[in-house]
C-alpha cells in the first residue's frame, strides 16, 4: 500500500505505456483524480453473481490501483433483489442487462457518465449501436443490451432510445450461449435446439430454472420444432407464453427432464455425473466439466445462440471519492488485463483491442478467431483446457456473436410469464 502511494505516477504510466497511443491520448483527456492517492486505500464493494467475481481480478486491482476489492457473490435472482431493496450494501454492481431493465425503474442506480470512460469509443458497438463491429445489426429479440444501455439523464428511471451521455452500465462481459452435450453418451451429431425435447433423451435432459433465461431456451426449442411461431421471442404475447409453457409442461410430465438447475455449479455436477446428457449450459461450465477430463461440447446449433451480457454500474449513494474510485476501477477493468482474463474463461470482453494486447497470439487465435491452438490452451489459473490443434466450440467471435438469435429477456408480460413458469415448475 505504501509502495502504491509512493509510485503513484510511475505505476500508472508503466501500465498505460503498454497501450496504444490512441488509448493513451483518450486517457490524458479524461485523466484520473489524484486526490484519491492521498487518503486511505479505497475499498470497493462489488455485488454480483460469481460469474466474474474472480479473486485474481481483485488482486490485480490491488496491485494496479491500490484498491481493496470486496466481492459479495449472489445467486442471480438475489442480484436484482439486492439492487432494488438494499442499494447501499454495495459500491459497484456487476449486473446482467436483463436485470437492468428491472432495476433502473427503481431509481437505485446512477448510471455511468460516458465522458469519464476513457475507452468509451472502443466499446464494441453491440452495446452502443446494436451492431457487430463490422456494422451488421445484431439480433434484437429479447432484452438486447442496446435497448437498455442508455439513460435519459444521470440517475434517470427511463431508458433513452438512442445513445446519450449516460450509460446504464459499462459493459464488461458477454457471450453466446447454446446447449451443452455429452458427446460420449449421445454418440451422434446434435444440430438443433429441438434435441432438448427429443424423447431419445428422456430423463436425461435439463433446462435452467431462471425464468428470464429458461423461457428463451424454451422459445428456441419451440420455434425450432415449428410448434410455436413468435412475433418476437423476447417479448411474447400471453398466447405465445401459454403455448410455450404447455409444450414444456407436457415434456416434463413425460419425464423428459432429470432436473432443473439454477446455479452454474449444479449444471456442472449434472453433466459431470452423467445424470444429464443434454442441457442449457454456460460456456465456463462446459470448460469446468472438461477440466475434469469428461468430454463435453458446447454445441453450436443451426438456429443460433441465446446471448447475454453484463456490465458494471454504480448506485446513487456513492460520495465523490467513492464514485471517482468506481470510475477508475471501471476504466481499469476494460483497459486490457481483465479483458484478457475473461476471454480466457471463454467469455468475450467489451473492449477487444486492449484485451488482445494481453493475450498471446495463440490464445487470441484460439478464443477469438476460431483458429486451431498452436500450443496448449491454459485457463487463467493455469490448468490445461485444450491440447494443441483443438478448435473452440462454435469457432470464432464472428461466427458465434454473428449467429445470436436472441438475448436473455424481461418481457412486457413478465408478471404473467413468471406465474406461468411457476406453474410449469409445479406441474
Amino acid at each position: 500500500m505504501s509502495e502504491q502511494t509512493k509510485t503513484e505516477g510511475t505505476g500508472i504510466t508503466r501500465r498505460r505505456a503498454l497501450e496504444t497511443t490512441a488509448l493513451a491520448a483518450a486517457t490524458a483527456i479524461v485523466g484520473f483524480p489524484t486526490v484519491l492517492r492521498a487518503q486511505e486505500p479505497v475499498t470497493l464493494r462489488i455485488a454480483g453473481t460469481g460469474v466474474n467475481a474472480y479473486n485474481e481480478i481483485a488482486e490485480k486491482a490491488k496491485e494496479d490501483l491500490g484498491f481493496n476489492i470486496q466481492y459479495t457473490t449472489l445467486v442471480s435472482d438475489d442480484v436484482v433483489k439486492r439492487a432494488v431493496t438494499q442499494p447501499t450494501s454495495f459500491d459497484l454492481l456487476d449486473v446482467e442487462y436483463w436485470m437492468i431493465k428491472k432495476i433502473v425503474p427503481a431509481g437505485t442506480l446512477l448510471g455511468m457518465d460516458t465522458k469519464r470512460i476513457a475507452l468509451f469509443d472502443e466499446i464494441v458497438p453491440i452495446f452502443t449501436k446494436g451492431e457487430l463491429p463490422d456494422g451488421t445489426k445484431i439480433a434484437d429479440q429479447g432484452t438486447a443490451p442496446f435497448e437498455v444501455s442508455f439513460l435519459e439523464e444521470e440517475g434517470g428511471k427511463t431508458f433513452a432510445s438512442g445513445a446519450t451521455e449516460f450509460m446504464t452500465a459499462i459493459p464488461t462481459v458477454y457471450n453466446a450461449d447454446t446447449l451443452g452435450i455429452r458427446p460420449d453418451l449421445i454418440g451422434r451429431p446434435i444440430e438443433s435446439w429441438t434435441e432438448l425435447l427429443n424423447p431419445e433423451f428422456q430423463g436425461k435432459a435439463s433446462i435452467l430454472n431462471i425464468p428470464s433465461i429458461g423461457i428463451m431456451d424454451a422459445a428456441m426449442v419451440c420455434e425450432a420444432m415449428g410448434a410455436v411461431t413468435y412475433a418476437d421471442k423476447g417479448n411474447m404475447t400471453k398466447e405465445e407464453i401459454d403455448q410455450t409453457i404447455a409444450i414444456l409442461t407436457e415434456a416434463k410430465k413425460d419425464g423428459q427432464f432429470r432436473a432443473f438447475w439454477k446455479d452454474f455449479n449444479e449444471s456442472v455436477n449434472l453433466m459431470a455425473s452423467g445424470e444429464v446428457v443434454i442441457q442449457s449450459m454456460w460456456s465456463p461450465a462446459v470448460t469446468a466439466v472438461r477440466q475434469q477430463g469428461i468430454p463435453c461440447v458446447y454445441q453450436p446449433l443451426k438456429e443460433g445462440y441465446r446471448a447475454w451480457a453484463a456490465g458494471l454500474t454504480v448506485p446513487v449513494h456513492l460520495d465523490d471519492r467513492m464514485r471517482d474510485a468506481a470510475y477508475e476501477f471501471v476504466n481499469w477493468y476494460i483497459s486490457g488485463w481483465v479483458g484478457a482474463f475473461l476471454n480466457r474463461q471463454g467469455y468475450y470482453t467489451a473492449v477487444l483491442e486492449t484485451a488482445e494486447e494481453y493475450m498471446t497470439p495463440n490464445e487470441w487465435g484460439f478464443w477469438m478467431e476460431g483458429q486451431p491452438a498452436t500450443a496448449p490452451i491454459l485457463s487463467p489459473t493455469g490448468e490445461l483446457l485444450d491440447e494443441p490443434g483443438a478448435v473452440r466450440d462454435g469457432g470464432s467471435y464472428w461466427e458465434r456473436m454473428g449467429a445470436v438469435a436472441c438475448w436473455n429477456a424481461v418481457m412486457d408480460e413478465d408478471r404473467y410469464m413468471v406465474r406461468k413458469w411457476n406453474e410449469f415448475i409445479a406441474a
Partner: protein
C-alpha cells in the same frame, strides 16, 4: 453400564446405529470425494487420489472467501448461542409466573418460528433499508437468527420448567437465599444440562442458517451464503475438504473433551474411595 440388556435394547441400538449411518451417508461421500485428484470434480468418478484440495483450502480461492465467511459464521453462531441461552432462560423464568401479555408473547414466539424464513428475512432487509440502517451479520443477521433460535430455546425451557419442582426454590428461600442466590445455586444447576442442549442447538441452527440470513446479511456473507454463492461459478472439491476438516475437527474436540471430563471425574472420585 454392564448390567443386563434386554432384547429391546439391541433393537433400539440397531435403530440408532442405522440412523447414525444414515445421517453420515452424505458425510461419507464428502470425505471420500475430498480426496479427489487435482482434476476431480464434485461428483463421482474419482479422478485420482490426493490431498490437493486440503492444500487449496488454505490458499485464496479464485471465487469466494471461505476463510472470512467461516470466521463470521463461527462468531455469529457463538453470539447467537450466548444470547439465546440467556434470553430464553430469563423468559423461561418469567413464564413460570403469570404476567400480562404472556399468552401474546407465547404466540408471537410460535409465529416467529413458523413464519416462512424467507419472509422474515425479506421483512428485516426491507425494514433496515427503510430506516437507512446498514445490514450486517452482527446486526440484522443476528436478529434474524434470534427470531429462529429463541422460539426453540423458549420451548425447550418450557419443557424443562414444566416439571421443575418449585419446592426446591421455596426451600432455598426459606433458608434465606436471595432471589439471585436461588437462581444461581438452585435453579441453574438443575437446568444446566438443558441449557447446554439449547446452546448446542442454537449454535447449530445459526451456523447452518440460509433462508433467514439471505436478505439480512448485508455485504459480508455468512458461510452457508458464501458457499451458495460460490455455486454460481465452478466449485471445486475444496468445499468437500472443508466438510471433511470440520467433521474431523469436531470429532477430535468432542472426543478429547469427553475423555478429559471422564478423566477429571475419575481423578476427583479417587480420593474419596481411598
Amino acid at each position: 453400564m454392564g448390567e443386563r440388556r434386554s432384547a429391546s435394547f439391541y433393537l433400539l441400538l440397531a435403530v440408532f446405529t442405522l440412523f447414525v449411518l444414515f445421517i453420515y451417508g452424505p458425510i461419507l461421500t464428502i470425505v471420500v470425494l475430498s480426496f479427489q485428484g487435482p482434476t476431480g470434480g464434485l461428483v463421482f468418478p474419482m479422478r485420482g487420489v490426493s490431498l490437493h484440495w486440503f492444500a487449496e483450502l488454505f490458499r485464496p480461492q479464485s471465487i469466494g472467501d471461505i476463510g472470512g465467511a467461516f470466521q463470521r459464521s463461527l462468531a455469529l453462531g457463538l453470539i447467537t448461542m450466548v444470547l439465546t441461552v440467556l434470553f430464553s432462560f430469563l423468559a423461561g423464568l418469567a413464564f413460570r409466573r403469570r404476567f400480562r401479555g404472556a399468552t401474546l408473547l407465547f404466540y408471537i414466539a410460535i409465529a416467529s418460528l413458523i413464519m416462512p424464513s424467507i419472509v422474515v428475512s425479506l421483512g428485516i432487509g426491507a425494514a433496515f433499508e427503510l430506516l437507512g440502517m446498514p445490514r450486517n451479520w452482527y446486526g440484522s443477521a443476528l436478529g434474524a437468527h434470534l427470531t429462529w433460535t429463541l422460539p426453540f430455546g423458549l420451548l425447550i425451557m418450557f419443557a424443562v420448567f414444566n416439571r421443575f419442582n418449585p419446592a426446591y426454590e421455596e426451600a432455598a428461600r426459606d433458608q434465606g437465599a436471595s432471589g439471585w442466590q436461588t437462581i444461581r445455586h438452585v435453579v441453574l444447576p438443575i437446568v444446566a444440562p438443558s441449557l447446554l442442549g439449547v446452546a448446542l442447538f442454537s449454535f447449530t441452527l445459526s451456523y447452518d442458517e440460509v433462508a433467514r440470513s439471505s436478505q439480512a446479511t448485508g455485504f459480508e456473507n455468512t458461510l452457508p451464503l458464501e458457499l451458495l454463492a460460490m455455486q454460481t461459478n465452478a466449485t471445486t472439491p475444496v468445499i468437500y475438504a472443508l466438510g471433511t476438516l470440520t467433521t474431523a475437527l469436531s470429532f477430535i474436540v468432542i472426543v478429547t473433551t469427553i475423555t478429559g471430563v471422564l478423566w477429571l471425574r475419575r481423578r476427583a472420585a479417587r480420593p474419596r474411595t481411598r
